[in-house]
Assembly symmetry: C2
Homo-oligomer: 159 residues x 2
């Protein structure tokens, strides 16, 4: 971890590769379970973390979702997260790390003309040495902000 | 290419890994030359292309830029491109493929509070069997839309 950009030191627990399982739910869909791989990496010398995520169905292993973006220091100790989703969204999040809890909410959520009407997202990540737990709350299709995804990931240890 | 999602057939020339060189310029910076790697891939069964890009200085090989996003079919034969950049931008592009020229312009360009004032981008990609040429025009820092990046990439043939 000694090569981590100094501006990212407070998020050092987040850096790495993660695998685990999660559950999705929303009033408009049947609940579903998924398998997930997540990576937060720091390109050498750069003041940001590159984020990549993939999920697969826990039932039949078909690919479900991918997303990617960048997490970067913002003003006055805040964190900014920019993200693109193949479902036709781009998101800008702002938030703070409090203890081991990183909470971010969308300040911008823009959609292509063919994307579903998602209007607000909140992400809460709980950082640990060996575990990464996250929850995503979503306001969409005129439903109020509520739990959409929860997952428990384990650090992939490299030998 | 037989596994390409049918909705992406008209962009089949774009799919693959690309390497080459480019040049950057703008009124606010000294011109610079770069080395680049680009990937457009179609996750199995998914109606979009995942896009990843990395550049390095042609002078000293230090990492310069990365960006990532997703290109997807839009309404009435159009194409939509959603993208996130670690410099603190998210972009939604809309455009069309005409012959072998894919031209897209930002319909949304949103910035985090700490990002530079980039206000409009236009990307023109010229597709070929063996070559991919692109140009990026940028409106930023109160300068009108003008050439920012040009690059010539060659298809990475896999054995």
């Amino acid at each position: 971890m000694s090569d981590l950009h100094p501006g990212l030191a407070s998020l050092h627990l987040l850096v790495g590769d993660w695998r685990g399982t999660g559950r999705g739910e929303y009033p408009t869909i049947a609940p579903f379970d998924y398998r997930e791989e997540v990576s937060f990496s720091n390109p050498p010398g750069k003041p940001f973390l590159a984020y990549r995520q993939m999920t697969w169905s826990a039932v039949d292993d078909r690919p479900l979702h991918v997303e990617s973006g960048y997490l970067r220091p913002g003003e006055r100790g805040s964190w900014e997260w920019v993200m693109a989703q193949p479902s036709g969204f781009v998101e800008i999040y702002a938030g703070h790390l409090t203890g081991r809890t990183l909470m971010l909410e969308t300040t911008t959520l823009a959609r292509t003309p063919t994307a579903k009407k998602v209007t607000h997202l909140r992400r809460v990540l709980t950082l640990g040495e060996a575990d990464l737990v996250y929850e995503v709350e979503m306001e969409a299709l005129d439903h109020p902000l509520q739990r959409h995804l929860t997952a428990q990931l384990q650090r992939v240890v490299k030998y």
